[in-house]
């Protein structure tokens, strides 16, 4: 019986048989619906065309047979549509490998699809902190990065987008300084055009920085209120009276631009959710991040997770838009056996990047023209920026008090390579670290 992963290979097999005749049908759409059932969509003008009827019927029959539960009965296998633009609207689409004129339209129940890569925001640089697994010190590292950039005199804004497991704000703000509202409140109010009611009370300034500023935008306010009921509405797209639709990630982007305008930060740090998740997708692909930091510990779960993501970017043809923004961070490097651990981490990282993201260099050509790196190239995106494991920083709750007695040398010893990288992304120079 055909299962989901065999859909595209099966279609490929069906179409390859008819490859030399396919041009007669013009552009073809393979429509994979919300339930994972597939139909063939052809141009309206072919509906009553006798010359192509036989070919269409043959493909419909073969596809229906090959796809089984993921297809439709042969008499309902083909749809004719007058506007392909309408069919493509709002759904992920990519070319079927090996066929120039066959587009796969993939409809998903989630709002984001990991493939809609927004160009890098031109105003304030945005850095996204992401990890496949939770508990690898990602939020702590974003707090430390915020502190370090602020120490260098910068105005730093930190957004807690780990909405399902919020926390970063408590490391940067004492309880009494927490703002009344958070990102969740704004996203819910925005649906009823009431964002202004919370906008001015969702940012708090941290007392930790001496020379710069740290503005914290938490997931929720001092009192989370009906947090679950709000969280369940965060993902709603907004549809205005003219019927124009704004997905939730665009609403989030709008919030970021408004925050930028009001608070004028030099850099925005976004603590994203761990895992292949809806919020994480929005953070990594939709916010126009300049840098996407992939926090990793060496382990099967990490690499298989990143492979899934990288392969998706490859298949959907957006690799070139995203790969230069990625940077691996080696989190929690153990005290004992650090060198061996790092060697292993670097090798696995290189393998994962090389398989899906790096260009293959054709024989006899120079590597300079290609996006390709040696395993030990320290400037490569796969080459881990390291953070050493440290007992004092392993619990996020204690970080606020920890920051108040911080020894900068100790910080550099633990976070040095990572912090240098972050300062580098925003172009602030890291000579002092």
């Amino acid at each position: 019986m055909t299962t989901f992963d065999q859909i595209l290979p099966s279609i490929h097999e069906v179409l390859i048989v008819q490859k030399e005749h396919l041009h007669k049908l013009g552009p073809i759409i393979i429509n994979r619906d919300l339930n994972g059932r597939v139909r063939l969509v052809l141009e309206e003008k072919l509906r009553d065309q006798s010359e192509t009827a036989k070919l269409t019927a043959a493909i419909a029959r073969a596809m229906s047979d090959a796809l089984g539960p993921h297809g439709f009965p042969v008499d309902r296998m083909v749809l004719f549509e007058s506007s392909f633009e309408m069919v493509k609207q709002g759904a992920l689409n990519f070319q079927l490998e090996g066929f120039d004129d066959v587009t796969v339209i993939d409809r998903m129940a989630t709002e984001t699809d990991w493939s809609n890569i927004t160009p890098i925001a031109t105003e304030t640089p945005r850095i996204v902190f992401f990890s496949i697994k939770g508990g690898v010190g990602r939020s702590t590292a974003s707090s430390v990065a915020a502190w370090s950039l602020a120490q260098a005199g910068k105005r730093v804004m930190v957004l807690d987008l780990d909405l399902e497991s919020p926390g970063i704000s408590s490391s940067l703000l004492p309880d009494e300084k927490r703002p009344v509202y958070g990102i969740t409140d704004w996203l819910v109010e925005d649906l009823v055009d009431n964002g202004a009611a919370v906008f001015n009370d969702m940012v708090a300034s941290s007392d930790l920085s001496r020379d710069g500023e740290i503005y914290v935008v938490p997931a929720h306010g001092r009192d989370p209120g009906e947090y679950i009921a709000k969280l369940g509405r965060v993902w709603m797209p907004k549809i205005n009276e003219q019927g124009l639709r704004q997905p939730w990630s665009s609403r989030l982007n709008r919030l970021l631009f408004d925050l930028e305008k009001s608070w004028k930060p030099d850099v925005i740090l976004v603590d994203s959710r761990a895992g292949i998740d809806e919020v994480a997708s929005a953070c990594i692909t939709d916010l126009g991040a300049k840098g996407v930091l992939l926090f990793s510990i060496d382990g099967e779960q990490t690499w298989s997770g990143y492979s899934i993501l990288f392969r998706h970017w490859h298949r959907t043809g957006v690799v070139h838009e995203i790969r230069e923004r990625l940077q691996l961070v080696g989190a929690m490097i153990p005290e004992v056996g650090a060198t061996e651990y790092f060697g292993e981490l670097c090798e696995r990282s290189w393998t994962t990047f090389a398989e899906e993201l790096y260009d293959e260099i054709p024989a006899g050509e120079l590597s300079d023209a290609y996006f390709n790196f040696d395993q030990n190239d320290e400037t490569a995106p796969h080459f881990p920026w390291t953070i050493r494991w440290n007992r004092g920083f392993s619990a996020l709750q204690s970080i606020h008090s920890r920051f108040q007695h911080l020894d900068e040398d100790e910080l550099t010893a633990i976070f040095g390579p990572f912090l240098r990288g972050v300062h580098d992304i925003v172009g602030f120079g890291a000579e002092h670290l």
Partner: protein
């Protein structure tokens, strides 16, 4: 005969278009109203409206309405259903001035302008039906 809102929507829409092209405003107008009603009722089923398992007609009395009243009923099913987010209709109801009893009216009372406004209404329903088929919400 059993109810088949999807098929009924299609035939009313196709025939209305045929008549509209032939400038037969009165009956085109009548069929645009029926097309909108049937299309929206099919979508209402997708968004949770219960129907009689034998006849296929709506079980709640309030849902047994024609084009001029179906707009609001549709909206209440759509707004309460997860999948309904992407299925909004224009806020202005185009069938306020349409009535099933107009089938007894004189042809001269129907103009191109009247038929055209109802055609636009039925067209927006027709687009939603096509979209629902592509998304697999209705099969």
């Amino acid at each position: 005969m059993a109810t088949d809102f999807l098929d009924a929507h299609r035939r009313h829409w196709n025939d209305a278009e045929l008549l509209f092209r032939e400038t037969r405003w009165a009956n085109a107008d009548h069929l645009f109203g029926l097309a909108a009603e049937c299309g929206l009722k099919r979508l209402m089923i997708a968004f949770g409206m219960s129907v009689d398992p034998v006849t296929g007609t709506p079980q709640i009395r309030n849902d047994k309405v024609h084009a001029n009243r179906v707009w609001a009923r549709y909206e209440s099913y759509r707004s309460g259903h997860n999948a309904g987010v992407n299925y909004t209709l224009p806020a202005v109801e185009p069938f306020q001035d349409w009535d099933i009893s107009q089938r007894y009216a004189h042809s001269d009372d129907f103009t191109k302008v009247i038929a055209e406004s109802h055609r636009n209404g039925a067209k927006s329903v027709h687009s939603l039906i096509n979209k629902a088929i592509l998304e697999g919400i209705i099969l």
